[in-house]
Symmetry: C2
C-alpha cells in the first residue's frame, strides 16, 4: 500500500468503466481486455490499465479481465457495495427530476427525503415520497443515517442550505446551484454546473477551427 493520491479523473473514469462493465455483463460477455474497455468508453488502453493499477491487479496477462469480477471490484472501490441514502433539498423542476431519476436507483442510490420551504410544494408527493418542510431535515437525516445531500435550490439559497446540511452532519454534497459554496475543508463537495457545461460547448464552437490563441 504505497501512499499515492488517486487523481479525480481516475475516479471519474472508474465509474464509467464500471457502468460499461455492467452492460457487458448483461450482454453475457465474460472476458474483456483493456483495449476493448478503452474502445468502449473512449480512452486509451494504457489509461485503463493505469487507472486500475492504483487499486490492485485485477487481470490475467495474455487474457484480460473477467467482466463480472472487474465490475464488482470497480463498484467496491467506488463504495457501491454500500447503501447510500440521500436527501434532496429543492423540490422545483430540477429537484423533482433528480428525485425520480432512474440512473440513481440503477446504481444503488436512494433518496429518502425531499425538502423545500415553498408551502405550495410541501405535502405534495414525489412518487412515494412526501415533500417535507426543511425543518424536518434533521429528523430524516438521523433516522436513515444519511451522509449525502443534494442541493437543487436557486443560487441565492444554496449557501444556507449547504450550511444546514453540514450542521446536521452530512459529509458529502452534490450542488446543482450555480454558485461556489464556501464550506469546511472536510466536507466533500462537488458541483454540477449545467450552464458551465454548455459554455464549454459554445467556447469550442467559437474556436473550433483554431482552439489555439
Amino acid at each position: 500500500m504505497k501512499t499515492v493520491k488517486v487523481p479525480e479523473a481516475t475516479v471519474t473514469r472508474l465509474s464509467v468503466y464500471s457502468r460499461f462493465l455492467e452492460r457487458l455483463d448483461q450482454n453475457g460477455v465474460v472476458t474483456v481486455s483493456s483495449g476493448e474497455i478503452a474502445e468502449g468508453v473512449g480512452v486509451s488502453p494504457a489509461q485503463v490499465r493505469k487507472d486500475l493499477a492504483y487499486f490492485g491487479e485485477f487481470g490475467t496477462r495474455g487474457v484480460g479481465y473477467n467482466v463480472k469480477d472487474l465490475m464488482r471490484y470497480t463498484m467496491n472501490i467506488l463504495g457501491l457495495d454500500k447503501k447510500w441514502p440521500m436527501v434532496m433539498v429543492g423540490a422545483g423542476k430540477l429537484g423533482y427530476a433528480l428525485s425520480t431519476y432512474r440512473g440513481f436507483n440503477d446504481r444503488g442510490f436512494t433518496i429518502v427525503g425531499v425538502f423545500d420551504n415553498d408551502l405550495t410544494k410541501i405535502g405534495k408527493k414525489i412518487e412515494h415520497l412526501d415533500v417535507h418542510p426543511i425543518e424536518k431535515l434533521p429528523e430524516i437525516v438521523k433516522k436513515h443515517g444519511v451522509c449525502i445531500g443534494i442541493i437543487a435550490v436557486p443560487a441565492p439559497f444554496a449557501q444556507e442550505v449547504a450550511e444546514l446540511m453540514v450542521a446536521n452532519g452530512l459529509q458529502a454534497i452534490l450542488n446543482f446551484a450555480p454558485v461556489s459554496l464556501n464550506l469546511p475543508e472536510n466536507i466533500i463537495l462537488r458541483n454540477v454546473d449545467l450552464s458551465v457545461r454548455l459554455e464549454v460547448l459554445t467556447f469550442n464552437l467559437c474556436y473550433r477551427s483554431s482552439t489555439t490563441f
Copy 2:
C-alpha cells in the same frame, strides 16, 4: 497570437469567473482583484491571472480589473455575445426540467424545440413550447439555425439520437444519458453524467481518511 492550446479546465473556470463577475456587477462592485475573484470561486489568485492571460491583458497593475469590462470580456470569450438556440431531445422528467431551467435562460441560451417519440408526450406543452415528434427535428433545426443539441433520453436511445443530430448538422452535443457516445471527431461532445458525479462522492467518503493507496 501565440499558438497555445487553452486547457479545458481554464474554459470551465472562465465560465465560473464570468458568473461571479456578473454577481459582483449586480451588487455595484466596480473593481476586483485576482485575489478577490480567487477567494470568491475557490481557486488560487495565480490561477485566475494565468487563465485570463490566455486571452489578453484585462487588468491594470496595482489596481485590479474593472468588473463590468472583465465580465464582458469573459462572456465574449465564451461566445455568450452570440445567440445559441438549442434543441432538446427527450421530454421525460429530466428533459422537462432542463427545458425550463432558468439557469440556461439567464446565460442567454434558448431552447427552441423539444422532441420525443413517446405519443403520450407529443403535443403537450412545456411552458410555451410544443413537444414535437422526433421527425420534426430537421425542420426546427433548419428554421432556427440551431447548432447545439441536448440529449435527455434513456441510455439505449442516446446513440441514435446523437447520430440524428449529427446528420442534421448539429455541431455540439450535451449528453445527459449515461453512455459513451461514438461520434465523428469534429463534433463537440460533452457529457453530464449525474451518477458519475455521485460516485466521486461515495469514493471520497470511503477513502476520506486516506485518499491514498
